[in-house]
């Protein structure tokens, strides 16, 4: 029962504050590239007030565990990460992450948050595997997930229709044994 379960090297997982998160999510929604990397739903602009309401409702959901991502250096809110859609009886769940602050893209912050969440999933929730899906047009994320130990498990063909063409939905999964294996665990926290 060592370390602080919520801390990585660059970020920590924190509670979601509806007021603060609503402001951030609303601001992030003005970046359509971000929305379209994150979500299959038609991208749209959120108000702070509307967002606050659904964040509060979301926090009451039992089948979701979500965290705010804050930088360790200056406690900045840069995005959120969550586990949801638990298959408790099978020991599997979905993970989803979004780093809305562009200046933190491509610098390891997202991966660090994912490492913390995977450790949480495997050592606190005692799950057997974690699943995610990611869009074909998000190669940066796919590479990052592979480095973290996720294996590609297939593609839901031509699922997305954006910018006049169709794109696959890539499914990836990581088993607890893979997460524990020396190749992956040496980079773990």
């Amino acid at each position: 029962m060592n370390i602080n379960l919520y801390c990585g090297d660059l970020v920590r997982l924190a509670a979601i504050d509806p007021e603060e998160s609503a402001a951030a999510v609303s601001r992030f929604s003005r970046d359509s590239e971000y929305s379209r990397l994150l979500d299959s739903y038609p991208c749209r602009l959120f108000t702070k007030e509307g967002t606050k309401k659904w964040i509060e409702k979301d926090l009451e959901k039992e089948n979701v565990i979500a965290f705010a991502i804050r930088t360790l250096s200056d406690d900045r809110l840069i995005g959120d990460v969550g586990l949801g859609g638990f298959f408790w009886n099978h020991g599997d769940t979905y993970v989803g992450i979004g780093v809305g602050e562009r200046e933190f893209w491509g610098k390891g912050y997202g991966s660090d948050a994912m490492r913390v969440v995977l450790r949480y999933a495997f050592t606190e929730l005692n799950l057997r595997r974690v699943t995610l899906n990611v869009f074909e047009y998000n190669p940066r994320a796919i590479r990052a997930y592979e480095k973290l130990g996720f294996q590609q498990e297939g593609r839901v063909r031509k699922y997305l229709n954006r910018e006049g063409r169709r794109w696959d939905l890539v499914y990836m999964g990581i088993m607890k044994e893979e997460w524990l294996s020396p190749k992956i665990s040496h980079q773990n926290l």
Binding site: S40, Y41, P42, F87, N89, H90, G91, D92, R128, R129, T131, Q151, E153, G154, R155, V156, R157, K158, Y159, L160, N161, R166, Y171, G173, M175
Partner: protein
């Protein structure tokens, strides 16, 4: 196939609306067979009482009305025998529809084991695919099939679905692990196209 061909009448079965009076007791009985539930769904198998089933139907219709991304059908027998005609044998759903991408999940189930292997599933599948592609104008359909359900795999593969994703050892039942398989069908691949 044209506008004048019924969307709902198959050879052996037809697609019909929920009968809130008769159907709950019948579907409740299906759910007391754990094999049926475990073939169909990954959630812990749990029998459902007729009263609860009735509430589920009401929630489904409410969801269809509000979310506008689901369609629900009962599968009912076609028969010259008045007793058997319109008997509930299964259900089918198109759900989690993402209209902007033209995609949907599909599921169907034949409740009583004695009604399986009679062609009702194939017949229902043909009607559903036509509804999805020629009425809703969807682009592709997806479904999830557990590795331990070869009957469903055969049904969907016969209809043209292709294996796309294999979630390794995602399921744990009866003390062993099983893959969860995604299969998909694009409109261009549908033989009714």
């Amino acid at each position: 196939m044209d506008i004048h061909t019924s969307l709902y009448e198959g050879r052996l079965i037809r697609l019909g609306p929920i009968d809130h009076e008769k159907d709950p007791a019948i579907e409740s009985k299906w759910t007391h067979d754990a094999e049926y539930l475990r073939l169909l769904d990954t959630a812990p198998a749990r029998p459902v009482s007729p009263v609860e089933m009735k509430k589920k139907y009401e929630a489904i219709e409410k969801n269809i009305e509000e979310s506008k991304n689901q369609f629900y059908f009962t599968i009912r027998l076609r028969s010259d025998d008045a007793e058997q005609n319109d008997r509930l044998v299964g259900f089918a759903r198109l759900y989690e529809i993402e209209w902007n991408h033209g995609v949907s999940q599909i599921v169907l189930g034949i409740g009583d084991p004695r009604d399986r292997r009679k062609g009702y599933g194939t017949d229902a599948m043909n009607l559903l695919l036509r509804y999805a592609f020629a009425e809703l104008n969807l682009f592709r359909l997806s479904t999830l099939i557990p590795e331990y359900n070869p009957g469903a795999l055969r049904l969907f593969q016969k209809a043209g679905f292709i294996e796309e994703v294999r979630r390794r050892q995602a399921l744990n039942r009866d003390g062993r692990f099983w893959d969860l398989i995604h299969v998909g069908l694009l409109r261009d691949e549908w033989h009714g196209a």
